[in-house]
């Protein structure tokens, strides 16, 4: 026994030794590791995107390669998304993050940000020329598409009372704008400017003034801040500004020239009377504040004074913003309400489809039976998530447009409606089989008795057969309805603001992943348990004493 244990232990140890080493925090560790893992975007042209063959290219990829050269190790590029880039860096999946990340005080709580900033941009709106927008104030209560994780989403939405529809991928948000699901696309002004150059966006423009110019920073783990790695990175950025490399890249990738880079090139090339560069490290090791115009002052006053509840929870190590932050709380409750509404809608639709489908499957006319069978089999044995994408992005884009209250044309059906349709159709297929089995289990005697009593086929079906069939299949039906409630989370993939979706908006910004995940788990468990309990009560009430 101990021989086997020793053998397996040795194999495990050898396997572990053969696996890649852990995350590196400073230059020595990186050189030991033999490579530097840099997180970049794959969905944000032209800073980080994929070419026709799926390879990662872009301005930030070029910067990553330059950094790796300065460190003296090969680079490994890892695609990250706005939702997970800070976590990926914090957990050690990547060593350096160059992923279009705007610097902010709240983000510095999660990871370290290197100054000087390598880029800066503001936020603007891509909207149709027809709208003739001129001021941000006109956007009150307007539906605006946005990309998940953008730092400006929450503050701009709050400031101008926007109704944000947030999408995981930029491409999805742009499809939605083209489908007229929203009035505009809230995004980085340089990215919008790049898009407006291409012919498919001819009818669109960037009409509003650019807001909130914010610096983009290269991210490092907190453990790496203050090490020689941070120094190398910030020196590299200084060098990029000084040598004009960033302006060169801007031109190479077709990005509209920004005032920020022009200013930085001038500042960093300025020399003092004695011939030294104006922007050099001072006695404290920092670059002068004037050379970092987009810097974040870490002594920023807290926007909200913490109340007693917040202080008590934080002293216990818990950050439950949904309890004391009005915006987060409102979003969470809205998500909960939408989940319940979505579940109800799907249940209604799927039961209706099930009843009709079961009837179709019982008809004598064979082609109708075949079509119904084909529907049932296809929708039962394909994943509901893919069906959802198929309906929302595929069929949804082909439907006609209608006049909305603001005079704009919008698509006929919204994300919520499509989620109800897709999940209802999916569950309806299973319900059809369940109801059909239940109906078939009603013995022929009952049919004959109904006929003998003078019931028409339709009346017999509705008043006698169906109620008996329902009791036959109640257990299976309950299981299926519970599955519907569990599946509502899929709607988050098409930006329906239900529970999973809003939770995924809250934790990347607040940094309270553990707390929100636990809240999510417990909430769903309670929701489903309540439904299961209600179903059991219903089962007991409907039971016919003595029936099989």
């Amino acid at each position: 026994m101990s021989d086997r244990l020793r053998r397996w232990g040795l194999i495990a140890l050898l396997l572990a030794a053969a696996l890649p080493a852990q995350a590196a925090d400073d230059l020595a560790a990186l050189r030991d590791k033999g490579k530097v893992v840099v997180g970049v975007k794959a969905d944000y042209p032209p800073w980080g995107f994929r070419d026709g063959q799926g390879r990662l290219i872009g301005m930030e990829i070029d910067l990553a390669r330059d950094l790796a050269q300065r460190i003296g190790v090969p680079v490994e590029l890892v695609a990250v998304q706005s939702a997970n880039r800070l976590e990926a860096l914090r957990q050690g999946q990547i060593d350096i993050m160059i992923a279009t990340a705007g610097d902010s005080a709240s983000r510095r709580r999660i990871v370290g940000m290197v100054e000087p900033h390598y880029y800066a941009s503001g936020v603007n709106l891509m909207a149709s020329r027809e709208l003739q927008l001129t001021r941000w104030e006109q956007m009150e209560n307007a539906t605006v598409c946005a990309k998940q994780g953008a730092y400006f989403n929450k503050p701009v939405a709050r400031r101008y009372d926007l109704d944000l529809r947030i999408f995981k991928e930029t491409q999805s948000a742009k499809f939605a704008l083209q489908d007229r699901r929203c009035i505009g696309f809230l995004f980085d002004d340089s990215a919008i400017a790049a898009d407006l150059l291409s012919p498919e966006w001819q009818g669109y423009t960037m009409p509003l003034p650019t807001l909130d110019e914010t610096g983009w920073a290269i991210g490092l783990r907190h453990a790496s801040m203050g090490t020689d790695l941070e120094r190398l990175v910030s020196d590299a950025v200084a060098d990029w500004h000084r040598s004009g490399y960033l302006v060169e890249l801007e031109a190479k990738w077709g990005i509209k020239q920004t005032a920020f880079l022009a200013t930085m090139t001038r500042l960093w090339n300025q020399r003092e009377a004695g011939g030294d560069f104006l922007c050099r490290r001072g006695a404290d090791g920092q670059y002068p504040a004037d050379c970092r115009p987009t810097r974040i002052d870490t002594q920023q006053v807290a926007v909200r004074q913490p109340g007693a509840l917040e202080r008590w929870l934080k002293s216990a190590g818990m950050n439950l913003t949904i309890l004391y932050d009005p915006y987060d709380r409102e979003q969470f409750l809205r998500g909960l309400g939408n989940t319940i509404l979505l579940a109800l809608g799907c249940i209604l639709l799927s039961v209706t489809i099930g009843i009709i489908g079961a009837w179709l499957l019982g008809l004598r006319f064979a082609p109708v039976r075949w079509i119904a069978t084909a529907y049932v089999e296809f929708f039962r044995y394909t994943p509901p998530l893919v069906q959802l994408y198929f309906f929302f992005f595929g069929i949804g884009a082909m439907l006609p447009l209608v006049q909305a209250s603001n005079g704009m044309e919008t698509p006929l059906l919204g994300g919520f409606t499509w989620a109800v349709i897709a999940l209802g159709v999916y569950a309806g297929a299973s319900n059809t089989v369940i109801f059909r089995t239940g109906i078939d289990a009603v013995s022929q005697d009952v049919h004959d008795s109904a006929a003998a009593l003078g019931y028409s086929p339709l009346k017999a079906y509705v008043l006698i057969i169906l109620p008996l069939a329902l009791r036959n299949c109640l257990a299976a039906l309950n299981a299926n309805l519970v599955n519907i409630v569990k599946a509502t989370g899929l709607a988050s993939a098409i930006a329906v603001p239900e529970l999973l979706y809003v939770t995924n908006q809250i934790w990347p910004e607040e940094g309270n992943t553990v707390e929100m995940m636990n809240v999510l788990l417990v909430t769903f468990f309670l929701l489903v348990s309540v439904l299961v309990y209600l179903m059991h009560r219903l089962e007991r009430r409907l039971r016919i004493p003595g029936a099989a």
Partner: protein, 226 residues
Amino acid sequence: MSATLATLWYWTPALALGFLMNIVISLGAMGLGTAVGMGVGLGRISTRPWVRKACWGATQFLRNTPSLVLLFYLAYLLPYEIPLGGGYTIPLPGWVKAVVGLSMPVIGFMSDNVYGAVRNIHSDQWDAAEALPLTRYQTLTSVILPQATPMLLPPWMSYFAVIVMASSTASMVGVKEILSSATIAMESITDPGLVIPMYFYVLCWFFLFCYPFSHITRWFERRKWQ
């Protein structure tokens, strides 16, 4: 039309590789979930009441929580790597987290099925085993489980198809499987006219793989009655 087919054909190798990942994740989830689930299911007939209650509670929790939420929970809270001390670590790539996440509903499913199957074994078998005499462990391994396990195979295979379909949700936590490969393809193509054909193509991949499992139960019944 032919341009559409050509594009779909061009992306087929990437989609096939993605679907292979779906299968790998599903097999891993079924393997891990079956092993743990059988333990939990047998724990529900344990002689110790606290073990029975704990296993019942775990089963209730796993069956009543959406697999998607469990997947998100584990994907974001499991660490990137597990340190073993001495500088050695075991990395936990995304697909491994997806395997653990998808094994949760399998555990619940197997627990319920094993419990039901074992309880279906006539009590005479238990009495005879006690009379022989066999210890509880010997009874379970030599008498009860060999009779209960064949009954589990048809629902197990049907559930495998269910898990393969559920593996598509791994795309929502960043795993490179068929749905995210299709999304990458859409990012590279940026032609709205290709959306319907691409997603229909992905649906067909799943249908062609999962549909045969629907006839498994009937095939097993026919074999038993031969």
